[in-house]
């Protein structure tokens, strides 16, 4: 069931009523203050084109080792998942998640006529367009358009960044980008902005649109800040950018905020040169931050309600290049992490390295089908309306 505004208001008033309860009752109240079943999706973007073949390693594939005499990760180093698949050694926590059944891996995800340019391919992933289409809105922005008609605040989808990605820009509504709640609050908490906003009286459509955005921003900034302080996280996070960002996200998930989608990026995975060190560094940051985040969610009994989805604009060439790196490729794997997955482990067969197109993998799962599944099964949204077409729904969530 999608999270309705009406429900939210009720929960909001419940929360304030709880302030007047005796202390001992409040302790019982704590878990219930969190809206039960408020499913949240966290999209984690690996910017730059992560090398999927060195993320989930085809440990028994000769072609893999032949194509990557230097870069190939040996079976002994990889963290074994199944007979044929191993994980990058910098992701030990992902192995733990796999073992406990909280990790799903979708292999060989891509789209027809893949583009090798970072920007264009990212555009295609974020807008969920075909590769010969130019769409000026993003898939999560259109989710807002479909779900949030009449919502007062654009807080249903938040990006932890200074700049809003195309993914969160809808035709009519847009998500909100913030580096952290406090910074947003202090930058919008200028009396001048508040006063001109309060006193404005315009009829003309263009000015009105700008004032509407201003007004939503100001009220959202207050709302987010207030929510983020309500349940300060006691969990220790690594002092990395992703660590900080996931801590911000967790503090909001634990509050009563109506946010359904969080969006955050890690990069750059563009490993043309000296791939091993760079990917290791980024994966270590990823591994440790996700570790803290999952612990935090679990200790607050919210892990079942959160699904993390990772993606990258493309994978890399099967063969290594001459500089200890890999060049832009095509299909790639995606991770799904959460306590509420319906299917776990390897969700589909690994890429077929026998059947390549000019040295690139041929995709077998359209990413739009993955989006459709998350929208339909997890966020209870109208995937066809949002994606403009019916794609096959899978069962992993």
């Amino acid at each position: 069931m999608l999270f309705k505004r009406k429900e939210f208001l009720q929960i909001g008033s419940l929360a304030s009523a709880s302030l007047m309860m005796p202390k001992f009752l409040k302790a019982f109240e704590k878990k219930a203050a969190v809206p039960p079943g408020n499913k949240v999706m966290v999209v984690l973007q690996f910017s730059g084109g992560n090398d999927g073949l060195n993320t989930v390693i085809p440990m028994r594939n000769d072609i893999y080792y032949k194509s990557r005499p230097k870069l190939g990760i040996q079976k002994e180093q990889a963290l074994q998942l199944t007979d044929e698949a191993g994980l990058n050694p910098a992701l030990p926590f992902f192995k733990d998640l796999f073992d406990e059944g909280s990790l799903g891996i979708m292999n060989n995800v891509g789209y027809p006529n893949p583009d090798h340019s970072h920007f264009r391919s990212m555009d295609i992933w974020q807008s969920a367009s075909d590769s010969n289409q130019y769409v000026t809105s993003g898939w999560l922005g259109r989710y807002l358009d479909a779900q949030c008609d009449g919502c007062g605040k654009p807080t249903q989808a938040l990006e932890i960044d200074d700049v809003l990605s195309l993914a969160l820009k809808g035709e009519n509504l847009k998500g909100l980008a913030l580096q952290d709640p406090k910074k947003l609050y202090s930058s919008s908490n200028e009396r001048y902005f508040k006063e001109i906003n309060a006193s404005h009286d315009h009829e003309e459509a263009a000015v009105d649109y700008l004032y509407k955005t201003l007004s939503e921003t100001l009220s959202s900034a207050d709302y987010i800040y207030e929510q983020s302080r309500r349940h300060p996280s006691s969990q220790t996070y690594p002092a990395t950018e992703l660590g900080r960002n996931l801590k911000t996200i967790c503090s909001l998930i634990l509050s009563d905020i109506n946010t359904k989608v969080y969006y955050v990026s890690l990069g750059s995975f563009d490993t043309h040169v000296n791939q091993e060190n760079q990917q290791k560094r980024l994966f270590t940051e990823l591994n440790d931050a996700i570790n803290a985040f999952v612990k935090d969610l679990k200790s607050n009994s919210r892990f079942e309600d959160v699904a993390i989805m990772t993606f990258s604009e493309f994978g890399r060439r099967v063969a290594q290049n001459a500089s200890g790196g890999t060049d832009h490729g095509t299909a790639n794997n995606m991770f799904f992490i959460g306590g509420g997955l319906k299917q776990k482990g390897l969700l589909n067969p690994m890429s077929d390295l026998n059947d390549l197109n000019q040295g690139d993998l041929k995709y077998s799962v359209d990413f739009k089908s993955v989006y459709a599944t998350m929208l339909h099964n997890w966020l209870d949204a109208d995937d066809e309306k949002i994606l403009g077409k019916k794609y096959g729904i899978m069962n992993f969530v």
């Binding site: 340019s117 000026t136 006063e195 000015v207 563009d270």
Partner: protein, 477 residues
């Protein structure tokens, strides 16, 4: 309230140029729109000086490549160095062009060029290609659309961006043919998929050599008959362009896009129909089309004034024209472009920047409302733009823990203050407002009063300008 002559002239300057300059804003009260436009037309009629920023380092390397005959013989390091130098040079090209927009007399030409830069959008990382395409656009911005289209279509920038180098008789690549029709000329609905395939065959063999010169490679060209938009023959790329220009749909598509950009997002079909008929009869003469628009009465109607959301580049340039300033580090303007979503030479895709409401989201609006304060050094800012993998190529490009930036800037406030020399204290507020804002209604004067600096006349003028530039209203022109 009827519009004043000053307002109408400012409207013309915001649309046909990049807004009024401090030094001439006082002359706008008396001159007629017709006369002002004639000045713009005249100053833009000269052939522009080419922008050339390619550094010696790049030139040297490139010449080396040309002598070698092919890129393949370069070492990895040389290639990397070449790409990095090219990306740096494109930044310089960005700033050099921005400077033209701010200071050039040929305002109409530069404004038109910015329009074409978004229309013929190409995102390639080769400084030679970008520079050549920009110069083609600036030379033909007000000339003949057919010439412009032909030159752009033959530019290495567009040929490489749209993969026509790979368009060969044996393996046709339709990308170029498709975008020429869909985005550059007729728009969807005026041709079929078969027309695209046939046009692609005609374009086979169009490419460029190692010096970046256009070449037709005869043995990659398909010499068979093609049937395109109802005509059959052994067409080549030029024939296809001729046939496209024969279509009234082309005149209509271009006219509608120009109307949307220069007049109003809401298209008035009747007007566009009339304009495009004439544009077609005038054999795609762009100067005549623009004259028709800017000399009309309807262009100055209230519904067209102060209703268009400025693009980030227009916003930055507009502030800098009204408030003359010297930036110690002009490259900070690249950061503003990135944060606000419009980096020159890096359009999101071949369809260009969508514009309009697409410029605005919460964070972009908040930054826009701080821009004037940041530029005039009233405020430090801390912002980290997104990484750009296209230009960073895997290198760590930005400081992960940036400190708050404070611009080093010298503002020439004297020129601004001079504008108000003859204005009495009680008229000051209104006059500043009339010069800064184009919207029908303004900010509530009672609110404004509480925030301006009342300690001196000078402080009052400065702070009123900055406060007014820090409003939603200022985002419009």
């Amino acid at each position: 309230m009827s519009l004043t002559n000053q307002q109408k002239n400012q409207h013309l300057l915001w649309r046909a140029a990049f807004g009024p300059m401090a030094e001439n804003v006082n002359e706008l009260g008396d001159v007629s729109q017709k006369k002002l436009y004639k000045i713009l037309e005249k100053t833009s009629s000269k052939k522009p000086d080419e922008l050339n920023v390619a550094s010696n380092a790049f030139d040297g390397l490139m010449k080396g490549v040309q002598d070698l005959g092919q890129m393949q013989k370069l070492t990895q390091d040389q290639k990397k160095q070449l790409r990095k130098q090219s990306v740096d040079d494109i930044k310089n090209l960005n700033l050099a062009w921005l400077n033209e927009m701010i200071n050039s007399e040929a305002q109409l030409r530069e404004k038109m060029s910015l329009f074409w830069h978004g229309h013929f959008a190409s995102r390639v990382l080769n400084i030679y290609f970008q520079q050549q395409l920009l110069n083609v656009i600036r030379e033909n911005a007000l000339g003949n659309f057919g010439d412009l289209l032909r030159e752009v279509s033959k530019s290495p920038s567009m040929l490489s961006f749209l993969n026509n180098q790979q368009n060969r008789k044996q393996h046709p690549n339709e990308n170029f043919a498709r975008e020429v029709m869909e985005l550059f000329t007729m728009g969807r609905g005026n041709y079929t998929e078969t027309d695209i395939r046939e046009a692609a065959r005609a374009y086979t063999g169009w490419g460029f050599n190692v010096k970046g010169e256009f070449v037709e490679r005869p043995f990659l060209h398909d010499n068979g008959n093609k049937t395109f938009l109802g005509k059959t023959g052994n067409f080549d790329g030029d024939d296809i362009i001729d046939i496209i220009l024969e279509q009234k749909a082309t005149a209509k598509f271009i006219t509608a896009k120009i109307y949307k950009y220069f007049v109003n997002d809401e298209v008035d079909n009747e007007k566009v129909e009339k304009l495009s008929e004439k544009f077609y009869r005038d054999n795609y003469n762009l100067q005549k089309l623009m004259n028709e628009i800017f000399l009309s009465d309807w262009f100055y109607e209230e519904k067209n004034i102060g209703t268009r959301i400025k693009s980030p580049v227009e916003l930055i340039v507009g502030v800098r024209r009204l408030i003359p300033m010297q930036l110690e580090k002009p490259e900070s303007q690249l950061l503003f472009q990135r944060v606000l979503g419009q980096i020159l030479f890096y359009p999101p895709n071949v369809a260009g920047w969508p514009g309009g409401k697409n410029w605005i989201d919460s964070s972009a609006l908040m930054f826009r409302m701080r821009l004037a304060q940041i530029l005039t050094n009233a405020e430090a800012f801390l912002i980290k733009p997104k990484d750009d993998d296209d230009t960073m190529m895997g290198m760590e490009g930005v400081d992960k823990n940036p400190k708050a930036n404070q611009l080093q800037v010298t503002v020439d406030w004297d020129s601004v203050l001079k504008v108000f020399d003859k204005t009495s204290r009680e008229d000051l507020s209104q006059k500043v407002n009339d010069i800064v804002l184009q919207t029908k209604d303004s900010v509530n004067p009672n609110v404004l009063k509480r925030y301006v600096d009342n300690t001196s006349r000078e402080g009052f003028i400065k702070s009123t300008i900055i406060e007014l530039m820090s409003t939603p209203e200022y985002q419009l022109c």
